[in-house]
Amino acid sequence: MGCGVDEVVAAFHRVAEVITAHRDELVDLDRAIGDGDHGENLTRGFTAVRASLDEGEHGSPAEVLKLVASTLISTVGGAAGPLYGTALLRAAKAVPDRVELGPEDVAAALAAALEGVVARGRAEAGDKTMVDALVPAVAAAERAVGDGGDTRAVLAAASAAAETGARETAPLVARKGRASYLGERSAGHLDPGARSTALVLGAFASPGPSPSRTPGKECEG
């Protein structure tokens, strides 16, 4: 079995929880090379996501992805709002009528998300952005599918790769976004957007409990 609509909803509740818990860390990362709002922006966005998820019934994973996307677009602002929003809209389009997301679906959704971010933000790998977390995540997910991994294994592989990718943004010199104004001085700091991307994928992959009224569920098999 893969990831059904309830599991996707539960995963986004976990994401909201993780982002809120890491608000200050993300603020600090953004304060170092940006303007210090990334943690606040995403916390505001995912708090709104929680509320809109709680509002009604959800038909399919794609519908949930679309709802989360539009909520983020209309509440986050900054660079991250449209980028996360586009990513999730594209992910939704990649799995339009699935009832459950299997391993291939997860990999396809991730690849579509990356394409969306690149289409909007025109960043390349190495520019010190969230792209540097997504590129290895997509590659790892595709490798895991090729290795016959199940949904959970694909998510775990993507999450681990995103985390490494985020960590490896530290030495890079930013060439996109606000951090690019720093030039060489941006080196030596993690990119906040790459870090938050890793946190999002981590929350998707992990079976952590959800505090919401939607019962905690994780993607299975």
Binding site: D35, D37, R44, S74, G78, K176
Partner: protein, 333 residues
């Protein structure tokens, strides 16, 4: 952090409430989503000039809403660009068949959110043009950066294109004029002290007792260099030379000189700097035909100034002089 506020997360809406109460004859304010529109409706067929950006730069943009300037402004959270919803809601409210010109400062967040809004509006059948303002010469404009930042020049773009819209220019013509202003204006700023974003609670950067940052951005982004404080003559020269060399401005040019406070610089220092700037321009044979001095593009309580120079032609001068009635700029009748 000492600030006059109740809750950092509601500071923008709380301030908008005060703004609405203070200027009922001029402005109408919605808070969900946050949009400031002018009471006077856009004449049928006229272009609606709409801008927006993170809050904390007041009077930019809400202080420029009114006859002869903006039809609406979309204030985001402090230093965070507004969302596409805000822009869409604003344009829906003020667009009157002549299309909407979006004035956007060149920051990734602003560009992306306005881009998304423009796509949504075009899908609804509204004609939209966007001008991206990028006048800050402190940033190298190369493929290694997000491009030059939009700073002081934004006010000049908004005033001039607002006047063009008010005289009935078409959307294409407005877009051309706004682009022309942006192409003819250059700016640079410096900071004596940082600002504190309410939800961050700590200074955006640290400066030594006698240190200043040359080339500061309006969100506290770093500039070109940190130097020890020096007399005003030298400081103004450090801002003005890169500005003049960039376009470049030449002897015989007639310009608008805009000396801007980043928020916490008193008028005494600001006018003093303005006088120096005018003298330095005169030394280069550049004539100041129009002046603007004041806190117009601020960075919360930051102490510092920026200098913008706009090369004028007769049309831009006439549009600058045209009547405007907003809380921050107000002249003509």
């Amino acid at each position: 952090m000492k600030k006059i506020l109740n809750d950092p997360s509601t500071v923008v809406t709380d301030a908008l409430r005060g703004l609405a109460l203070a200027h009922p004859e001029l402005l109408r304010v919605s808070t969900d989503p946050a949009v400031v529109t002018r009471v006077e409706p856009t004449p049928p067929g006229a272009v609606a000039v709409v801008s927006g950006g993170g809050s904390g730069h007041e009077p930019l943009h809400s202080g420029f809403v009114g006859p002869g300037m903006l039809a609406a402004a979309c204030p985001g959270p402090v230093f965070t660009s507004p969302t596409p919803d805000q822009v869409v809601a604003a344009v829906r409210e003020v667009e009157a068949g002549g299309g909407a010109l979006l004035v956007v400062k060149n920051y990734t967040g602003d560009v992306l959110n306005f881009e998304t809004a423009a796509e949504l509006l075009e899908a609804e059948g509204v004609e939209v043009r966007t001008v991206v303002v990028d006048d800050d010469v402190a940033v190298t404009d190369s493929s290694f950066t997000a491009g030059r930042r939009g700073v002081g020049g934004t006010v000049l773009v908004e005033k001039i294109v607002g006047a063009a819209a008010a005289r009935g220019d078409s959307l294409d013509r407005c877009a051309e004029i706004a682009g022309r202003v942006n192409s003819q204006v250059r700016s640079m700023g410096l900071a004596l002290s940082p600002c504190v974003v309410p939800h961050v609670g700590r200074p955006s950067f640290e400066l030594g007792e006698d240190e200043i940052e040359i080339g500061i951005g309006i969100h506290g982004e770093p500039g070109r260099e940190r130097i020890p404080l020096e007399p005003a003559d030298g400081l103004v020269r450090r801002l003005l030379e890169p500005v003049l060399d960039d376009l470049p401005f030449a002897s015989g040019d007639e310009v608008l000189l805009f000396t801007n406070s980043m928020g916490g610089t008193p008028p005494l220092e600001l006018y003093l700097a303005h006088g120096i700037a005018e003298r330095l321009l005169a030394e280069r044979g550049i004539r100041v035909r129009r002046s603007l001095v004041g806190p117009y593009v601020t960075s919360l309580e930051m102490r510092g100034i920026s200098v913008s120079v706009l090369r004028l032609d007769d049309e831009l001068t006439a549009l600058w002089d045209a009547p405007v009635r907003t809380t921050a700029l107000n002249w003509g009748s």
